[in-house]
Subunit: 412 residues, 2 copies
């Protein structure tokens, strides 16, 4: 305190980093080290360990379908507990700290409860506390809408809180602390020889995050890209350098494919025998969008008669919400039937070099075929190819793809 | 909903009434019955069961001396969980409900964290939600100061929240639901033949509450008296009529003493060999007041030389905070020493008839002496007499006093 300010650092610690009083003390120590190094520090915290799941289970004991406004009211308490306890731990170490909820900071969001988007972050209170040399602890995952109702930002939303605060404060870096060392070429629990990447671009990270790599919430990477925020993904359990997600960085350029991602939390819904009229698909996906259900992959296959099928995938968490919508649309458009499955997974390859290298998709399909893995749906972007396969074949698929694209071998 | 509005009812449910999902469903049912009867309903809730104690224990695992601002940040989550869950339960029963935290209602308090006093309750949001025929669930025990920091109102603070809301909304009645049937002539767990009182005046209730009867927070009765709010103390576990605390009511007039209270959460501190100079007592009690420590009973006894002792009692919860203050004053004024004890209790008799009946105190002392109970301190008001005795003699003392004043016999 006093002295030269080296930088303004925003740190974010996930639930596993603050799961117990002992871990909270360790996180507090780490935060004060950052201040001792001459930095101003703002820290965003998630709820302790499994506490969000515990709160959810409490809600489900009361009702199967809790109103989302009240779910947000309930879940936002988890982060509030964390900020209070970490503030106490920092105080016990002799450093000044102050905790702030989303409402107190002034994190304004839209109205979409349980999945809100941040519209604005007020810097006034943050700057006031920083000017008093305090470490500021902000409850992640939460904000409030224009009506002053508490909203939450969806699973992993604390990442977005941290990046948004780093953006408005023009922080030098946004450090995201998690229980892994950084971003890997594949999930190390699935592929033991997966390698840690030193740097990765926002675009590549966005694809990896969206594809289920689970290291960062996709929305947080979008915001980081938009405001050119550098993210440092690292572990709170050691002092290793992690992975830098930054503007202009690419994963190792020589490689065509630089990561394999998989996502087990996928559900697939099919609308069968859909009358071949214009506007049918538009009606279906508009109604899903109205319920804030993100649709991921879509295929429409024309049958020999004039009817056809529409299949699409969504996050498995949204299945309960999506089924009545699809059922309603089915009745209204006179479709022949509907089907859904939860036993599917998505595997994906990602790399900025893909655009200029034809044949990457073919290599992927060949590698999966060699393992007798059936591909149910395919989707591509400029820097990724994703396939929907059976859930119980996901591990085998990820390992095969990691081998096929030689991701265990460093290129530099 | 629709139809004639019979009344505006404020209800308050304590922690034991919402301790489990099953009890929450039962409370929700009871709330909707009140709405079905044609009332507008505002409900104030405490934290579930032992959850406040669980949060406190979490804090103490992090640090022995948590900053009070952060303690309030932590503890206020307990009530927020309750309002969300009860709102969900009411929604599941098909009734419209909305939960509001202290900040959202606009309950402004002073700055005294962990023991704040309500300065103002904004009715705007409450009236807006009521006008939409919603059941409004308000988090008890909490508010916010002018700086938008969360404050709490001390143990039992939800009672005060309920009474304050009833006052500003000019509610017809404030129903305080608890795990006992009403206000008794003594604690029924200590005196099995204690009787339930039908009515009691605010003044009498204030004495009983302050004396440790624990049915209502004393501050809530003060506010109720000030704004002439009628309180109905009743059980959430049955439909019995409880006790009405109301303006002008007296407990049964023919009785001189109408209740025996006891308080086991007492600590006694003595400052020994205090120099006999003016301003010493004033300094001591001013410094305690500056730390928001309520001093209850005070005695000053002059010794044969020019020194004397000052003894006083406080709530046992405040002991940790009081000792360093007394230690500092001891040094500054050059007192000979200090002592403290936690093994004391306060027993009291209360009754509006006492003013006009001499000899009541003597009867009390005689009854205690007959049981060989030594009296360490005495304090009196117009409608009560209190004695500090050894903690392990409290039960015996309460039973003896209940018998001595024939409280087991109804006078009407």
């Amino acid at each position: 305190m006093g002295g030269v300010i080296l930088a303004l650092v925003v740190q974010k610690y996930g639930g596993s980093s603050v799961a117990t009083p002992e871990r909270i003390m360790r996180v507090a120590k780490r935060i004060t080290e950052c201040m001792d190094a001459g930095n101003k520090v703002v820290v965003v915290l998630s709820a302790m360990g499994d506490s969000t799941d515990d709160l959810l289970s409490l809600a489900r004991q009361v009702t199967k379908h809790p109103p989302e406004r009240e779910l947000d009211m309930l879940l936002s308490t988890g982060e509030q507990v964390s900020i209070a306890l970490v503030a106490m731990a920092i105080d016990a170490l002799g450093y000044p700290a102050v905790s702030l909820t989303g409402i107190q900071v002034g994190i304004t969001t839209d109205d979409v409860h349980t999945k809100a988007k941040i519209l604005e972050v007020n810097v006034e209170r943050l700057l006031e506390e920083l000017s008093q040399d305090k470490i500021v602890l902000v409850a992640g995952f939460q904000g409030c809408n224009a009506n002053n109702d508490i909203t939450t930002l969806g699973r992993g939303g604390s990442d977005t809180t941290a990046v948004a605060i780093a953006a408005v404060l023009k922080a030098d870096v946004c450090e995201i602390y998690t229980d892994v060392d950084g971003v890997y070429t594949a999930d190390p629990r699935v592929v033991p020889d997966a390698r840690k990447l030193q740097t990765i671009s926002h675009d590549e990270m966005l694809e990896l995050a969206s594809l289920g790599a689970l290291v960062l919430q996709p929305r947080s990477v979008e915001v980081a890209k938009q405001y050119a925020v550098t993210i440092h993904v690292r572990s709170s359990f050691n002092y290793n350098e992690g992975t830098l997600v930054q503007e202009g960085a690419n994963m190792e350029k020589e490689k065509v494919v630089n990561g394999v991602a998989h996502d087990l939390k996928v559900a697939k819904i099919s609308l069968l025998d859909v009358p071949d009229r214009p506007g049918v698909a538009s009606k279906l996906f508009q109604e899903l969008a109205d319920e804030s259900i993100n649709v991921d992959m879509i295929i429409q296959s024309t049958m020999r008669n004039e009817h056809n099928n529409i299949s699409f995938t969504i996050s498995r968490d949204d299945l309960d919400k999506a089924l009545p919508v699809v059922e309603k649309v089915k009745e209204e458009i006179g479709a022949g039937g509907m089907a859904f499955g939860q036993d599917v997974a998505k595997v994906s390859i990602v790399g900025a070099g893909m655009i200029t290298n034809p044949g990457v998709a073919a290599t992927m399909f060949t590698a999966l075929a060699a393992e007798d893995i059936n591909i149910e749906m395919i989707s591509t972007s400029e820097i990724k190819v994703s396939c929907i396969i059976k859930a119980d074949e996901a591990t085998k698929a990820v390992q095969a793809l990691h081998r096929a694209f030689k991701l265990d071998q460093a290129s530099d």
